[in-house]
Symmetry: C2
Subunit: 393 residues, 2 copies
């Protein structure tokens, strides 16, 4: 057992570099530290108390030998169990530990306060919120998005929370969608390229490149990792028809789970094949329409009637699967879950392709031009961007 | 009940277009078809028999109204249950169904044979094979890879089966790694770019850009979707040290599961945080070191001591987690699971970043140059490429 040597906390603490770019300096100083057995017990001025395992503290030493000063990456390897209690002392309300081998570790009180075992920091990434019947998407002007961190934060927050957000009053400029996307992260390329044009064209290799109506679907469910976020930027929309439609697949799946748990079970426990083939590609994967995690929480919707492959299931499962699929289809296309509007030139819609289904009404290409440009982004990049924009100035 | 009208199978069958680019023409012709109740029962000349649900058959109609002739995508929507048996007849050993509404569906006998309910086709993608103690990687020459479908197939097959493959005797040409990768699919970009150079450099933002030894790790476990396949092409390797090391993470995890099921359980059931932060990025995700699917099968290893964030777990879990981590570390670094060799200029190693860990010995940059170029590819693209190369000529 080692008693802490207490020193009076200074009003202006020297913040110890912990290799962090996010803040923790506002947290309270330490008032007591006691190393005993396999734990160091710390008390903060706000009354918080926590017991830290020795191994955790040693592993998170932020000195230059234990953490690379430039890359901020951990150099210390926790290969030797730490069993001997260190000498603990407080300096200006921060913690210093001297380990049995003489190694010294300094910890900022606020950093430790944020990382007390079992604690979670206040989340920057918003929780998903299912669409209510009166859901109306958030819209951010192009000027606000491009001109202020607050505008971009609002756009990111709405997209991560609702799975869909609009950008308005953008320029009618070729590739503007790529420029907006690249603020956030690299374009995610697929077999249709890193950036695609949606308009009717001869010899289409995809229904999106025709003028037919597109029922609700998710893109590329035939990939193990379908694109996370889709951006669709409207450059021209003069043709009759062509309204965009969307549905919150998670909200519809929740309704299905309540109304018919057996249908939900079938769609979530029955992997089926999705497949796209052309002269150059044969991309196929096997996954359920509704993916749930180990806790039964919905994590992904794969829904695309065009590239759903023939079911390879025992005959008695097939009829039940079609019944469940039909029910889910009807829920998605019910007014309760569906959103319809016409994109105007200069407007961009962004949506979570693993949650929100999209489609469009048929249009008549003889009545005018319709031209969207689209690309994909990784969700990792959007979350990272929101964290960086949420750092204190 | 509808009895089939039988006609004599022709020796040279006319293959009906089923919207497929892979073959099914060698399969046997049909000898009998009987529509009864909710099933059509089919018999083939090889003695196979199968019962097809009506809905399945209607859903897979490949006529021009039901399947787009150019995109090959399904246009038919299975929204109306099919309950009335069709009229079934055979023509040249293939099946024709006339549905109650008059719609006609033609099916190729071989296509149906391949897709009998509950049947699986012969897999083109090889099963994963864990490294044995005497594992030696397959090596394909650059000339064979670039010059023949057989060479590229051999390379792809070994990579998908073993999780690691070599390419030898390639040119010492800048960007050759990108050219090789782009034969297969678009480069997968990350926060380190679409293509990266591994050599020591000033102000590194990543341990790989220093000369220090790199313990075994997987790349970017702080992404929700870490890169699948990594390619590392050696252009120069004159420095002392710098040998490459690899380990089959799946084989080591299987050993851990056998030796200490509780340690395996802790690493597979305890999500931890991985995090990379610099001025531009803060990319973090929470996932276990060992990910298993709903059947308990291992599907992914995330292992990177540099960007493992501090554990946010109850104190009593933390000690057990470090013990399990240490055990897995030791298994990975045991000679049983580890492979070490020096890459020579013109050689490229490719490996499955979600299965195989990689590292390198420290090198002395004062003794010579060491320069690798790397990129990532999506597994979807490798599997697709192997399927296309396996199509009959």
């Amino acid at each position: 057992m080692t008693n802490a040597t207490l020193s009076e906390p200074a009003t202006q603490r020297t913040v110890i570099a912990m290799g962090e770019l996010s803040t923790y300096a506002d947290a309270p100083v330490l008032t007591d530290a006691l190393a005993s057995g396999a734990r160091v017990t710390l008390c903060w001025r706000d009354g918080a108390q926590a017991h830290f395992p020795l191994m955790w503290l040693r592993d998170n030493c932020a000195c230059q030998a234990c953490r690379h000063t430039v890359t901020r990456e951990r150099l210390y390897l926790p290969l030797t169990p730490i069993t001997a209690a260190p000498q603990a002392s407080l300096h200006d309300g921060n913690l210093t530990l001297v380990w049995q081998d003489g190694h010294v570790s300094d910890f900022d009180a606020g950093w430790l306060h944020q990382r007390r075992p079992g604690q979670e920091p206040a989340p920057v990434i918003p929780a998903r919120r299912p669409w209510a019947a009166d859901f109306a998407p958030t819209s951010v002007s192009h000027a606000d998005f491009a001109g202020s961190a607050a505008g971009e934060r609002a756009w990111l927050t709405a997209l991560l929370r609702d799975g869909l957000v609009l950008l308005d009053e953008g320029p009618l400029a070729d590739e503007e969608v790529s420029r907006l996307a690249e603020r956030i992260g690299p374009l995610r390329p697929t077999n249709f390229g890193a950036r695609f044009d949606v308009r009717s064209k001869p010899n289409p290799n995809n229904a999106a490149y025709t003028a037919i109506g597109l029922a609700l679907h998710t893109d590329l469910p035939n990939w193990r990792q379908p694109p996370d976020i889709q951006l669709l930027y409207c450059l021209e929309n003069e043709a009759e028809g062509g309204e965009s439609i969307f549905a919150d697949g998670f909200a519809a799946a929740d309704t299905l789970r309540r109304q018919d748990p057996e249908a939900f079970r079938i769609l979530s426990e029955t992997p089926i094949d999705f497949r796209f083939q052309d002269e150059e590609q044969d991309i196929t994967t096997r996954a359920p329409v509704l993916s749930v995690d180990h806790d039964g929480q919905l994590i992904e919707v794969r829904f695309n009637n065009w590239i759903r492959d023939s079911l390879r299931l025992p005959a008695h499962v097939i009829d039940a699967w079609y019944d469940a699929y039909r029910q889910f289809w009807q829920l998605l296309h019910s007014s309760e879950h569906q959103l319809e509007f016409a994109l105007v030139p200069g407007q961009m819609v962004a949506f979570d392709n693993r949650r929100v289904l999209h489609g469009r009404r048929a249009f008549d290409p003889s009545t005018g031009r319709r031209h969207l440009q689209g690309t994909y982004l990784d969700l990792d990049m959007l979350e990272s961007r929101l964290r960086v924009l949420s750092r204190p100035d």
